[in-house]
């Protein structure tokens, strides 16, 4: 049974249909890249999978780990192993990273039937993962994402992912706004988490990220539909000929 099966998924926001029938099957251990021009629906797909209420699902089905994903609350999705790395991580003044992450991890552990981590074990885990992402420990006591640079926010997302160890990670334009060093760092963090039990959906506009996180499959999204699927060579082809080579344009420009 596939880890994730999306069938004819339709979704709209503010009465405008964005996803117009998505079909996608992801097996455990696979990395799928979703590429597409601006406005093609990439981020909408990522947010719908995480359960953002802003997007209204108007048709189709998503089966995750044998369950009806669309019937689950965002927190239940997270507890059953879905993680969304946000394109725009949210700043939450007044809530420290440490408190936030501990609350998140312990809720997720509890739902997996594991014991909550005590303060010391938690700190050791967090320190180890921070080292991996070359993050300064003082960030722990700062409010979530508040005053972080764009790069720090993206690193913080991957750091959270490393701590929470999801089954299905959805990375929404994690590369946008990163310089090459930060991109390498983030990619290293992501690659370290590749495993036969874990699947990833990597949403990106550019091929650049896929040089570092090499996908098993590439799908091209246009106007709310997957118009082409292939292996990693499809990304390279896109790099050479651009979306226009496939007859695809940015929705705004169309």
């Amino acid at each position: 049974m596939a880890l994730l099966e999306i069938k004819d998924l339709h979704a709209e926001v503010g009465g405008k249909e964005i996803l117009k029938g998505i079909d996608l099957t992801v097996e455990a251990g696979e990395v799928h890249a979703i590429m597409g021009p601006n406005g093609s629906g990439k981020s909408t797909l990522a947010q719908v999978l995480a359960g953002r209420e802003l997007y209204v699902v108007t048709g189709g089905q998503v089966i995750y780990d044998g369950k009806d994903l669309l019937a689950m609350s965002p927190e239940d999705r997270a507890r059953s192993g879905i993680f969304l790395a946000f394109q725009y991580p949210v700043e939450i003044p007044g809530v420290s990273n440490l408190y936030f992450l501990k609350a998140a991890l312990n809720t997720i552990r509890k739902s997996r039937g594991e014991d909550e981590l005590d303060a010391m074990d938690f700190l050791n885990l967090v320190r180890e993962k921070m080292k991996l992402m070359e993050m300064d420990q003082t960030l722990l006591n700062r409010p979530v994402n508040a005053g972080f640079s764009g790069g720090e926010k993206k690193r913080n997302e991957i750091f959270q992912m490393a701590v929470l160890e999801p089954k299905l990670a959805v990375l929404d334009e994690t590369d946008s706004g990163l310089d090459i060093d930060a991109l390498k760092l983030v990619s290293t963090g992501v690659n370290a988490m590749r495993s036969p039990e874990r699947a990833m959906i990597v949403v990106t506009h550019y091929q650049r990220l896929l040089n570092h996180i090499v996908p098993d499959f590439v799908h091209v999204l246009s106007e709310g539909r997957i118009v082409k699927s292939g292996g990693k060579e499809l990304a390279l082809q896109l790099e050479e000929s651009g979306y226009a080579g496939l007859g695809i344009h940015d929705e705004e420009a169309a």
Binding site: A50, G51, R52, E53, L54, S73, P74, E75, R77, A78, R79, F83, L84, F86, P89, V90, I92, P93, G94, V95, F100, L101, A103, A104, L105, T107, I108, S111, P143, V144, Q160, L164
Partner: protein, 391 residues
């Protein structure tokens, strides 16, 4: 009988039953009572009371209670004085000519808590004054704090109680030149209680005054904070009010820049749930003489229900021309994106709401410098928001 006489009549009986005090104090009482009888309780036609209807207080009848403030932490030269010692300052800052509640409090002067901090004394330990309301009773706590020049002190006023009662408090603070005063008022009255209080502070040259007003309890609450700054004075006037059910809280502040080079920062934050109602009125006066004044006022409100109501109003009276004054008010709900972000990490919706609500109050709590007070407040807030989510 007029409505005013009806309302003040019961108080007259109580007033005439008071034991006499020294002639000067007796005279002050008499004058104050006459003023109260003339003013009567304010109505919503009175601009200062437009959004706060005190009819429930005017209609109620209470026995006269003893405003016995428990004072702890008098160390390092801080002294408790008597009514006689208070004579020089008492009633000079908290004017009762226009405020019926201050007049009533002054009419019932009895157990004045007077605290004196000698010149230059640095008192480390917070001086705590605690009042406990008793059902069926009205009390008029009166506090006078005189801080000498160059002295440092921390004052914590706390109000608690059980049942339906009426606390009508007045605090006067005189801070000498360069004095540093950190003042806390923790209002945790019973949810059936009425609480009306005025804090009046006269601040010396280059004095540094911080007021933290934390209001959690009470059915009907009105806080007035009136501060007058001198040259180079720095005043920070902060407040946090958290109300739910049918609670009503009204905060009126007045910051009077009387002299040049004064600085004032004001931050009041409110969290409203259910049918609660809150009022914020922030008056900033910059006198003609008060050039180079720097004043900033902010009122932020988090509204958690559809039925809660907040009325917020800045009131700037600026007579000087070389000043910087800013003000702003916000009324908002919990941020949907922040909620989703927390949920997407496995945190349940209700817990996420509590967490964000708590976070909203965090910067006021962070400014509390007395560790024990900060800890206890954090615990109280945590429980309060936990309660909310259990509903």
């Amino acid at each position: 009988m007029t409505a005013v006489a009806e309302q003040t009549g019961a108080w007259l009986a109580e007033f005439t039953g008071l034991a006499t005090v020294a002639p000067w104090a007796q005279e002050l009482r008499e004058t104050a009572f006459q003023r109260f009888a003339k003013l009567g309780f304010p109505t919503t036609h009175d601009e200062e009371w437009r959004f706060t209807n005190v009819a429930p207080i005017a209609r109620a009848s209470f026995k006269r209670g003893l405003a016995a403030g428990q004072v702890t932490g008098l160390t390092g030269g801080a002294q408790a004085g008597t009514l006689e010692e208070a004579r020089q300052h008492l009633g000079r800052l908290a004017a009762f000519d226009q405020n019926a509640f201050v007049a009533l409090n002054t009419a019932f002067l009895e157990n004045v808590v007077a605290i004196r901090i000698p010149h230059g004394a640095v008192i480390q330990e917070p001086i705590q004054i605690t009042y406990n309301g008793v059902a069926g009773h009205a009390t008029h706590p009166r506090l006078l704090i005189v801080v000498g020049a160059d002295a440092h002190c921390t004052i914590v006023e706390s109000y608690t109680g059980a049942g339906n009662y009426f606390t009508n408090a007045v605090t006067e603070i005189v801070a000498g030149d360069r004095a540093v005063v950190d003042h806390y008022k923790i209002q945790r009255e019973s949810l059936e209680a009425f609480h009306v209080a005025t804090l009046a502070a006269q601040l010396g040259r280059s004095a540094n005054f911080v007021s933290h007003s934390i209001s959690l309890g009470g059915a009907l609450v009105r806080n007035d904070v009136n501060v007058v700054l001198s040259e180079g004075t720095e005043a920070t006037i902060n407040g946090l009010y958290i109300v739910n059910g049918a609670q009503h809280i009204d905060n009126h502040t007045s910051i009077d820049h009387a002299k040049p080079h004064g600085t004032s920062h004001e931050l009041y934050k409110g969290i409203l749930d259910d049918q609660a109602r809150a009022v914020f009125n922030g008056r900033i006066i910059v006198r003609q003489d008060a050039q180079k004044t720097d004043s900033k006022q902010t009122n932020k409100n988090l509204v958690l229900s559809d039925d809660a109501v907040i009325d917020t109003k800045p009131e700037l009276q600026i007579w000087a021309d070389d000043v910087r004054c800013t003000h702003g008010a916000t009324i908002g709900q919990l941020d949907a994106e922040s909620l989703f972000y927390l949920q997407s990490r496995g945190i349940g919706k209700q817990q996420a709401r509590s967490l964000l609500t708590y976070a909203f109050a965090q910067d006021i709590v962070d400014r509390i410098k007395v560790p024990a007070l900060k800890d206890s407040l954090e615990r109280i807030l945590f429980e309060k928001f936990h309660e909310h989510r259990e509903k």
